[in-house]
């Protein structure tokens, strides 16, 4: 009887040790894989945009979790967009929790070249897209009018892409073109993200924010790092 009890206990101890060992091995593998992805991603993804369907954007806790995931893998420059400006309203809450994050307005240097010790967050909505382009064009026209007498010829050639770029900076659209744009929501559309900024942006639909997964996020970002851009050539 004693022998059988002893053998039984020994069996349970071995199983428990084996279970613990496998768990430790599993967590170790996760750390290795995460570090490997982190090394692959850093430097290749300079600016990430996240588009969230406005109804889902009310889930601030999920948005914060997403930002924490991004921070953990080394993605430091993030633009958050939703059509109706819900995320803009949640800005204060997000900055309260993401203490190492700064707003793009606070960052003086080129946002893609800042030191990686903090995240830079940009909050954008529909008004920063098409409306901003119209404002920028208006600004250029006004400046052009000032250089000519009233009733004089307007110089149409003054309006080039570079001028619109500069004017957009002046009206407050400072963010660069994102390398990658992740869309969270039921629709496979960028929902009005500033059109001027997505010429060569990779667009990936991630599904609903309610079902967001760390693995899917990492895979989308990792896949981006493997893409070869031809830029039309």
């Amino acid at each position: 009887m004693d022998f059988r009890d002893g053998a039984h206990n020994l069996y349970h101890i071995i199983v428990a040790i084996g279970y613990l060992g496998l768990q430790l091995l599993w967590y170790f593998m996760q750390i290795i894989v995460s570090v490997w992805y982190h090394i692959s991603i850093v430097g290749k993804l300079r600016y990430l945009a996240v588009v969230i369907e406005s109804e889902e954007a009310h889930q601030t806790s999920k948005v914060i979790k997403l930002l924490q995931w991004l921070d953990s893998v080394g993605v430091k420059n993030v633009c958050l967009y939703d059509m109706n400006g819900v995320l803009k309203k949640s800005k204060d809450t997000i900055f309260q929790i993401m203490k190492n994050a700064k707003s793009i307005e606070e960052v003086n240097e080129d946002v893609t070249h800042h030191a990686p010790d903090h995240m830079t967050l940009e909050f954008v909505s529909y008004v920063d897209g098409k409306e901003a382009v119209a404002k920028a064009a208006n600004l250029i026209f006004v400046e052009n009018f000032k250089r000519h007498d009233i009733g004089g010829e307007l110089d149409h050639q003054i309006l080039l892409e570079s001028h619109l770029n500069q004017a957009l900076q002046i009206v407050g659209c400072k963010g660069p073109e994102p390398d990658l744009l992740l869309v969270y929501g039921p629709v496979r559309s960028h929902l009005g993200f500033p059109p001027w900024r997505i010429r060569y942006t990779e667009i990936v639909h991630m599904g609903s924010l309610n079902f967001m997964r760390y693995g899917s996020l990492i895979k989308a970002i990792y896949n981006f790092t493997k893409v070869r851009h031809n830029y039309g050539t």
Binding site: N84, V127, K130, V133, L154, L159, F193, I203, V204, N223
Partner: protein, 330 residues
């Protein structure tokens, strides 16, 4: 017991993959290709294609296959026009835009000259036009040549323009019979004069057609479209047709080159070859467009892939109704 769920998803569910093929592509050999190894998809051509004269020889032997003809060696296109039961006519997108990507890769995989990839791409386009006609899609916008494509070799660029010219000229009878309206967006001033004349003539000849409008984006850039729209608005302000303070996004939108159609905003954008970008195409117009990215190379994009794209679009339409209504914007 802990879960053996891997932290990284093993399968990408975000883009669709082509079905596995049973035949292997020819070994990569760009420059020499004999008639004996030609794919059955091409009509027989008595020529040996070499690197130096690839584009010119193929340009002179572009098969004259009209919209109404069957492709030699292939199945009857009339049978393939039947709309599958999974699609609903009332939920068809009004405007489909296509970035026809992958012609060159398709040719490279088969060891064919790059020009044959473009020829095969044109056949794929014809297939799509036939399907759009049958399934009552009103507008088809095709991204034929980007402002960025000038960086390609001069030989390829000239070949592409001559191919467009030849195909349109060979299809003009079918275009008139099917009442297809042809429009062009992009900066035509830099195109060869013969192509400019052809575009002008075909636009004029088809301006009253209404069954299907094909908008060919040639030397087109989305940013350039926005800039020229802003310039047009400037001109209207100068001419006293507009006040400066009236300039808003709606005014700019009316000046975009896609104002040549009743439905300027694509409902569905299809891009082939697995690329996940819009590449400076219709930047302003794509705000609410459903994206469908497919791994298939453009010459292989056929009816089944188009059905998949439309089915995906219609499922979302059924669930969420029509286009987004004007949002409460902040």
């Amino acid at each position: 017991m802990f879960s053996l769920r891997f932290p990284i998803a093993l399968k990408n569910n975000l883009i669709t993959y082509p079905p596995k093929r049973t035949t292997k592509p020819a070994p990569s050999s760009h420059y020499l290709h004999s008639i004996n190894s030609q794919s059955h998809l091409f009509p027989s051509q008595s020529m040996i294609v070499t690197k130096c004269d690839t584009m010119a020889v193929v340009a002179n032997n572009i098969p004259k296959v009209a919209l109404g003809d069957e492709v030699e060696g292939g199945t009857s296109l009339d049978e393939d026009l039947t709309m599958p039961a999974e699609l609903k006519m009332e939920l068809m997108p009004k405007h489909v835009a296509v970035i026809m990507d992958g012609n060159r890769r398709w040719a490279e995989m088969r060891g064919l000259p790059l020009s044959e990839g473009h020829v095969a791409g044109m056949k794929s386009l014809k297939r799509m036009v036939k399907l759009c006609l049958s399934w009552e899609i009103k507008v088809l916008t095709i991204f034929m040549f980007s402002t960025d494509n000038w960086a390609r070799s001069k030989v390829e660029v000239e070949f592409l323009f001559s191919l467009v010219e030849r195909i349109v000229n060979s299809e003009i009878e079918a275009i008139m019979r099917e009442r297809i309206k042809i429009s062009m967006i992009g900066d035509s001033s830099k195109l060869p004069e013969s192509l400019q004349r052809m575009i002008t003539n075909v636009e004029e000849s088809t301006k009253n057609h209404s069954k299907l409008q094909i908008i060919a984006a040639i030397n087109y850039g989305g940013k350039h479209d926005v800039v020229q729209a802003c310039k047009s608005v400037t001109k209207k302000v100068q001419d006293g047709l507009l006040h400066l303070e009236d300039i808003n996004e709606n005014i700019v939108e009316k000046e975009l080159q896609t104002n040549c159609t009743e439905f300027p905003y694509p409902d569905l954008l299809i891009r082939t070859s697995g690329e996940l970008r819009v590449s400076n195409f219709l930047l302003w117009q794509l705000a609410y467009t459903e994206f469908f990215f497919n791994q298939q190379l453009w010459p292989d994009f056929g009816k089944s892939e188009f059905v998949e794209a439309l089915s995906s679009f219609q499922k979302r339409q059924r669930r969420y109704g029509g286009r987004h209504s004007s949002p409460s914007i902040q």
